[in-house]
């Protein structure tokens, strides 16, 4: 298994984390291709999580934009986002490895809820690290995790958000590696997490490719997905990468003002080393990681999975930007035209489409990865309603 995508990736971790990473890689070799594992995972994905997800044609939205938009409906999955694809896969693998506990980081709480959920289902215990700022702004998800039986640890140092929750989860894993599996939430971090998570999320593009074949007899012209750490996007791109499909990742530009904190390391950062990987990173000249910002907590991360940095460097995927206001426009347009409340993360992909509408040829077939549902974001959206109106 390769640890690098071009010059990105790697395993920049303390020596004490190398043995568990090697153990994980061995377990992947043994179990992932195994028939029993595959059928157990399929059963959980289909009968517990709700796969396959529909590919929804958006007639009114398409008319407004001038091209055909179909949504890959990850928002319809159990727990409300694509995060459960990965959580189920890793939890099952952890069980095969004889681990009894899952540890995870969470920002918005979507991955934390997914992990707490699958841990309950598979009889594992779960410890979720969450920045204290996020604990405050995502109260409901904290309560959800607790009701599901998980322990939520509030992290009150550093930026008190996702970045520091990952640091703390890594420290916890160092100490408890014998019994604990670190269920990393996105296609980033030290090898083998980027390939592991990509593998579990690529079911998104596998289903989508087949659905497009059935519906229009070919692939879409364009696939658009929001990029936080990069898991829903790499999952949505994976099976289209070898095909002639325009792939667009959308990073969060924050408020969009000059010099504001943002979550767009590919567009606005430079290569650096954080959380075990070498990838694009928002940082100061002396290598200190900058705080990130986005209206959507799930995109609020200063780096990105190494495969995205690579796909960007070779020009295979375009990475655009959408700011907070554009995301809110995407949110309200989808709500109004199709009766679907998207999460603020995929709202960035929709916002990018609105802004770039004129550049997309009429009658193009465009797929948007609708990675999650918007219920979790209603408070934030309501408090920004003014921005939508202006």
């Amino acid at each position: 298994m390769k640890a690098y995508y071009g010059e990105f990736g790697g395993q920049y971790v303390p020596e004490t984390l190398m043995p568990p990473l090697m153990e994980l890689e061995e377990a992947m070799d043994v179990h992932l291709a195994d028939q029993t594992f595959q059928s157990e995972l399929s059963d959980l994905l289909n009968n517990y999580a709700g796969r396959p997800t529909p590919l929804t044609l958006c007639p009114t939205l398409s008319k407004e934009l001038g091209f055909t938009v179909r949504l890959k409906r990850e928002d319809l999955l159990h727990t409300g986002s694509h995060k459960i694809n990965n959580a189920l896969g890793q939890a099952l693998l952890a069980q095969k490895m004889g681990k009894t506990e899952l540890v995870a980081e969470t920002g918005a709480g979507q991955h934390g809820v997914a992990v707490a959920t699958v841990a309950a289902r598979l009889g594992l215990s779960a410890t979720i690290f969450m920045g204290s700022v996020d604990v405050e702004r995502q109260r409901m998800n904290v309560e959800r995790m607790r009701l599901l039986g998980a322990k939520v640890e509030s992290v009150s140092h550093g930026t008190q958000t996702l970045k520091d929750a990952i640091n703390e989860a890594l420290r916890y894993w160092i100490v408890n590696q014998k019994t604990v599996h670190y269920c990393f939430g996105t296609a980033a971090g030290p090898h083998p997490f980027p390939s592991l998570v990509r593998g579990f999320q690529s079911i998104i593009s596998l289903e989508a490719r087949d659905a497009y074949q059935k519906i229009i007899g070919r692939s879409p012209d364009m696939v658009v997905a929001a990029v936080g750490g990069g898991s829903n996007s790499i999952g949505a791109f994976a099976h289209f990468i070898p095909l002639v499909v325009d792939l667009v990742g959308v990073e969060a530009a924050g408020t969009g003002e000059e010099g504001c904190y943002n979550s767009a390391p590919i567009n606005l950062g430079r290569p650096g080393i954080l959380h075990g990987q070498r990838s694009m990173l928002l940082q100061t000249a002396s290598g200190q990681v900058l705080p990130s910002h986005s209206i959507s907590a799930g995109l609020d991360y200063p780096s990105v999975g190494p495969e995205h940095s690579y796909l960007h460097s070779i020009g295979r995927v375009r990475y655009g930007l959408a700011n907070d206001r554009e995301a809110l426009e995407g949110f309200s347009l989808l709500a109004r035209t199709e009766g679907i409340l998207p999460a603020l993360e995929p709202s960035h992909a929709l916002g990018w489409l609105i802004t770039n509408q004129a550049k997309i040829p009429p009658r193009s077939e465009v797929m948007v990865c609708l990675s999650g549902r918007g219920d979790k974001d209603l408070d934030i959206v309501l408090s920004h309603l003014d921005a939508i109106k202006n």
């Binding site: 790697g10 303390p14 984390l17 640091n167 100490v175 290598g287």
Partner: protein, 277 residues
């Protein structure tokens, strides 16, 4: 080879005196940007054989709360690698200095000072700049997030320059892995005493004993034990003392709370009560 290493020599000099070498660790800028430099001089005057200086990083995953907080404060006070090198140039310590830095501050320092505008030209190959700027104030470098698998570019940058890239091993590093490290190791070997992060611990774990024994068999270099150490009596838990002891959090906590370097070092200066090796 290792015989020419200033670090190996400093530890072997202590061995001759039948005591472990004393290796204090201080995060740069701790307890504040002025007192930090005074502390280095006082450490030298009070028996330090080697001094390790921590380059602050915003996301120090191998560190416990004390060093993480000290790093955060140092960053806020403007401390970075360039500031450390400038200060070292001025104070001219006699004991050898080792910089402990996560990979990114090193990589970005090098990036900013290397030729070539495009991305691939400025990859990790640019680390060579470091050895040039570190000499002659720095005798060794420890990168807590650079394991064997990622150490290639760092060895390329430092090997043969008189700056030792120090290897770290832990309680879960197998003998096979230690053997691989042994082919690259220089200066001394940093043996991490616990599966955990930096921070004061009252007792040394049983694991430490086993790790030291495995490391002794695998390496031809002095062994330095670190993570959790504060005073000599902790070493009673081992049947053989390591060749060097590294104390960081305990020293820093003492200094942050207004204690003197002299008082902290005093117990380490008394006649060493245990058997060496």
């Amino acid at each position: 080879m290792s015989a020419q290493s200033k670090l190996t020599a400093a530890i072997l000099a202590a061995t001759q005196k039948k005591r472990p070498a004393r290796v204090p660790f201080l995060t740069a800028g701790c307890p504040n940007v002025n007192r930090f430099w005074e502390c280095l001089v006082e450490l030298e005057e009070n028996g330090a054989d080697i001094i390790e200086i921590g380059v602050p990083f915003s996301d120090p995953v191998a560190d416990g709360p004390l060093i993480a907080a000290a790093s955060q404060k140092a960053i806020e006070d403007g401390v970075d690698l360039a500031w450390i090198l400038e200060g070292l140039k001025k104070i001219k310590l006699k004991v050898p200095v080792v910089l402990m830095s996560y990979a990114n501050p090193l990589a970005q320092y090098a990036w900013d000072r290397s030729e070539g505008a495009n991305l691939s030209q400025r990859s990790l190959a640019s680390l060579k700049v470091l050895a040039h700027d570190f000499r002659p104030y720095v005798s060794g470098v420890i990168c807590p997030d650079v394991p064997l698998e990622e150490s290639g570019p760092f060895h390329l940058a430092f090997d043969g320059t008189g700056i030792d890239l120090i290897v770290l091993v832990g309680p879960n590093t197998s003998s096979e892995r230690m053997a691989k490290y042994a082919r690259l190791a220089k200066g001394y070997v940093y043996v991490v005493s616990v599966l955990g992060t930096t921070g004061v611990r009252r007792d040394l774990s049983l694991e430490a004993r086993a790790s030291l024994a495995r490391a002794r068999a695998a390496f031809d270099l002095p062994l330095a034990l670190g993570f959790g150490l504060s005073e000599p009596k902790q070493l009673a838990a081992l049947n053989k003392s390591p060749d060097a002891v590294i104390f960081g959090s305990a020293l820093m906590s003492h200094i942050i709370n207004g204690g003197s370097v002299k008082d902290f070092m005093a117990p380490w200066l008394e006649a060493f009560p245990f058997e060496l090796r």
